[in-house]
């Protein structure tokens, strides 16, 4: 189930909120677990068993880690079990066919056939969450959870189940037992949800149609300007799609008392690639820093080792985004950029005029999206080469048509990629703000509903991950 659907907004959510707030405090964790499973099982009921499996396994392993805390060797084995089981699940469901099809190129394995396993939604997110639990318990960063239902709530929590943010166990450990519910918190959740809804339904889906046009355009019609227009459209689409989804998750979390960490912080205003990755998909970056980069030694073991660690972490980060070579390439692209920045460029950028740093960053990020957006390596390279003059000329009338058609949308999105809107809002006198907010909420709800009812077009990009 996705948030931006009639089903979620007008059936699931009202029913869940009613059940949640009408049931006594004690029972809320049970209600939550049941509705989480319904949310998850809606598309693929079979995979509910996977969710329950993950819950039970990591619950037991967490208890064992805690029990054998005194015996570090044993405790480590249980942590390792958790990591291996989670990664195996992820490997089997997400990557097995990728490896099979690639192995099949080798004569000895040419008889291998892809298994055609369908990807359980959100598996990339929740396996990372459950791993963080056993590791956090082992590191004494958080207490063990003795109530399996409450642990199940953590694993399957519907707001962030399928597209993050990736919530580390230690960040919500206390909230699982006790949360604050208040009108103010609920209202801020509503605001956040509505912001996310607008980003997803009104901005991302809209500009996504422009990207669809260019993604499908045959090479002989793809001009330089057209290729840039297309990939800029994708850059906006993926940002508003994903950050909109995170906003909705955070908003929904607040409606049921949870407080999640932020996942995006206006990434497109960054002045370096290093800064971009501190502002983009923050929860993933944090996860990799905490559970991979630092355990590898981080930057404490000399320059060479630091660079190697960066390379490893970013190759995996890329691969995490999808079982295809282009994601790996995209990760390595960033590894190289980050190394260059670490070596010298970051210092230069600090001294350079701000607009140069902005252009530098946006240029590289947008080129990066071209590597990300097209899975087939051949088509991907054709597209990138068109961006740099290797296409069918500089421009054509079709580009003018689409540019003019989407110009107002592009301007709105450029504005919405910056904090200016929030700043303006905060400048308003309190009284006007108290009028403006409900008006905006009503406006977004009504227009979004119109788009959802006309839902011939509502794909959701982050299902693959």
């Amino acid at each position: 189930m996705v948030f931006s659907s009639i089903l979620f907004m007008f059936i699931y959510l009202p029913v869940v909120l009613a059940l949640y707030y009408l049931s006594p405090l004690k029972w809320r964790c049970v209600v939550l677990f049941v509705v989480n499973l319904i949310f998850y099982g809606w598309g693929e009921p079979v995979y509910v068993s996977l969710m329950i499996f993950s819950t039970v396994v990591d619950y037991v392993l967490g208890m064992l880690v805690n029990k054998y805390r005194a015996n570090d060797k044993k405790a480590r084995i249980f942590v390792l079990c958790s990591v291996v089981i989670n990664l195996s699940l992820l490997f089997f469901f997400k990557y097995i066919d990728f490896f099979i099809t690639n192995l099949a190129h080798i004569p000895a394995f040419s008889s291998l056939k892809p298994l055609g396993v369908s990807l359980p939604i959100g598996i990339s997110f929740y396996t990372f969450q459950t791993m963080s639990y056993t590791i956090d318990v082992y590191r004494n960063d958080s207490p063990v959870q003795r109530n399996i239902i409450k642990f199940g709530d953590y694993v399957s929590l519907f707001p962030q189940l399928i597209a993050g943010p990736i919530v580390r166990y230690k960040d919500v450990a206390e909230q699982l037992n006790e949360r604050e519910h208040s009108v103010e918190k609920f209202a801020s959740g509503v605001q956040r949800f509505v912001v996310g809804l607008a980003k997803k339904v009104l901005l991302a889906n809209n500009i996504g149609m422009l990207w669809d046009v260019y993604k499908a355009m045959p090479a002989e019609e793809l001009t330089t300007l057209g290729a840039w227009l297309g990939i800029i459209a994708f850059s906006f689409q993926i940002y508003f799609d994903f950050s909109g989804y995170s906003d909705m998750a955070i908003g929904l979390g607040r409606m049921i008392g949870f407080e999640f960490l932020e996942n995006f912080n206006y990434p497109y205003i960054s002045k370096s690639i290093t800064e971009f990755w501190r502002r983009w998909h923050i929860s993933l970056g944090t996860w990799f820093r905490e559970y991979v980069y630092i355990p590898l030694g981080g930057n404490r073991k000399g320059t060479l080792r630091t660079f190697l660690n960066i390379f490893i972490v970013w190759a995996i980060t890329g691969f995490w985004h999808g079982a295809s070579w282009n994601y790996m390439l995209w990760g390595i692209y960033y590894a190289i950029l980050l190394m260059i920045e670490k070596a010298f460029l970051l210092n230069w950028l600090k001294k350079a005029p701000a607009f140069i740093a902005h252009i530098y960053t946006l240029f590289l990020v947008v080129v990066g999206w071209a590597l990300f957006a097209i899975e087939d390596l051949g088509s991907c390279l054709t597209y990138v080469s068109a961006m740099f003059g290797g296409g069918a000329g500089f421009t054509n009338p079709t580009v003018s048509y689409y540019f003019m058609s989407y110009l107002p949308s592009l301007i709105i999105m450029a504005f919405a990629s910056t904090p200016l809107g929030v700043k303006l809002m905060n400048r308003l006198p309190v009284k006007s703000r108290q009028i403006a907010i409900p008006v905006l909420i009503a406006f977004v709800l009504i227009i979004s509903t119109a788009y959802l009812v006309d839902a011939t077009y509502n794909p959701f990009l982050y299902f693959r991950f």
Binding site: V183, S405, A450
Partner: protein, 375 residues
């Protein structure tokens, strides 16, 4: 502080009233079976079974169901297209909003494989059937009225496509394109429907007369008769754009004593009509011609002349009436609903001439034209 709390409360109530309100309204409003505005059957409540749940069928059709049955659906769709146009978009759901409220469906690049199959079937048919075969492809309004399109709007060049297909048809090609293009300033297509108007069909008839070598009746010899001024057609439905004026339907050929029509709409022979006026009360007003889509029409005109078979789509409905005075019998087969052998039919009914007549977009996408190529 208190003020802040009231303000928060207002937001919460607003949100809950919206989602909860529509939840309840949707429960209370009865389901509709058909959408007039969209001209299609709406999804109905799916039956629950464990099988359909685990195959994913249940959940998918449930989501379509609640979206189709959402209270005030038509209004929401109109609102969406209004917002799109306000954002300076020139199109919605693949339909351009052209000058004078003209809705023009974007002509997408045809599927090359399908196109090869279809034109191959025509050429095979024309080469081996033993009677003269005429071939007419009717461009869509998007091509003939290209000057009404939004500036630079992309659409495939249908003239090139027709020229290419004509080179390979192996039949006597009818220059319908030029006939329509010459009269592009007239009301030859509906503004809200993908068909040509009877006036457009009249120019198509002139092109066909020229190809076959008979003398067409002049336009003056007909008395135009406006039968509807309130026609919203298929492009109106698919575009979702609601801010356009309806079309008029003006017919030219009058019904007459001695015209005998047999229609096989239901699969067996029934007495048919030239104009089914009851259709003017429905959404699909274009189906007034012969009562709409049918597998087979057999018309005895009462006039002298050869027997004509038309292999056709719905464009022919507005076109056939003009042919009455030139043929003794007219037979019309729609391959979408009639899979029987055309070859046998020709032999059985002593057909003298064949016309293959399609709207271009139907011809390049239809999955049944290959039937012509069968031995």
């Amino acid at each position: 502080m208190k003020r802040q709390k009231i303000s928060s409360l207002i937001q919460v109530i607003l949100f809950l009233a919206f989602i909860g309100g529509f939840f309840i309204i949707n429960l209370l409003t009865p389901d509709r079976t058909f959408s007039e505005a969209e001209n299609r059957m709406l999804e109905q409540a799916p039956k629950f079974s464990l099988d359909s749940l685990f195959s994913g069928k249940f959940t998918t059709s449930f989501e379509t169901y609640i979206t189709d049955q959402f209270a005030g659906r038509d209004g929401w769709i109109g609102l969406k297209s209004f917002v799109e146009l306000a954002l300076q978009k020139k199109e919605n759901n693949g339909v351009y909003l052209g000058e004078n409220g003209t809705l023009l469906t974007r002509f997408e690049k045809p599927d090359q494989k399908r196109l090869e199959t279809n034109i191959g079937a025509v050429s095979k048919f024309a080469g081996g059937i033993g009677v003269p075969v005429y071939f007419s492809l009717i461009p869509s309004s998007t091509e003939i009225w290209a000057d009404k399109l939004p500036k630079n709007a992309p659409s495939v060049d249908q003239h090139e496509l027709i020229k290419d297909l004509y080179l390979r048809s192996g039949a006597n090609n009818v220059d319908t394109y030029s006939a329509l293009y010459e009269h592009r300033d007239e009301y030859i297509y509906f503004r809200t429907d993908h068909h040509w108007t009877p006036l457009g069909a009249y120019y198509g008839y002139r092109a066909f007369a020229e190809a076959m070598g008979f003398k067409p009746s002049s336009l003056d010899s007909f008395t135009p008769n406006t039968v509807s001024e309130n026609f919203y057609g298929t492009t109106y439905s698919s575009s979702g754009i609601r801010s356009v004026e309806p079309d008029k339907i003006v017919i030219f050929v009058e019904d007459y004593e001695g015209l005998s029509i047999t229609n096989y709409t239901t699969g067996s022979a029934e007495e048919g009509v030239l104009y089914d006026y009851s259709r003017l009360e429905t959404k699909d007003k274009y189906s007034m011609f012969f009562g709409g889509n049918t597998p087979l029409l057999q018309i005895k005109t009462g006039h002298e002349g050869p027997k004509l078979l038309i292999i056709r789509d719905s464009y022919a409905d507005a076109f056939i009436p003009f042919l009455f005075e030139h043929f003794s019998e007219i037979h019309a087969i729609d391959l979408r609903y009639n899979k029987s052998s055309v070859r046998d039919y020709i032999a059985e009914h002593g057909i003298d001439e064949v016309l293959i007549s399609y709207g271009l977009s139907n011809f390049v996408s239809d999955a049944n034209v290959f039937l012509l190529g069968r031995q």
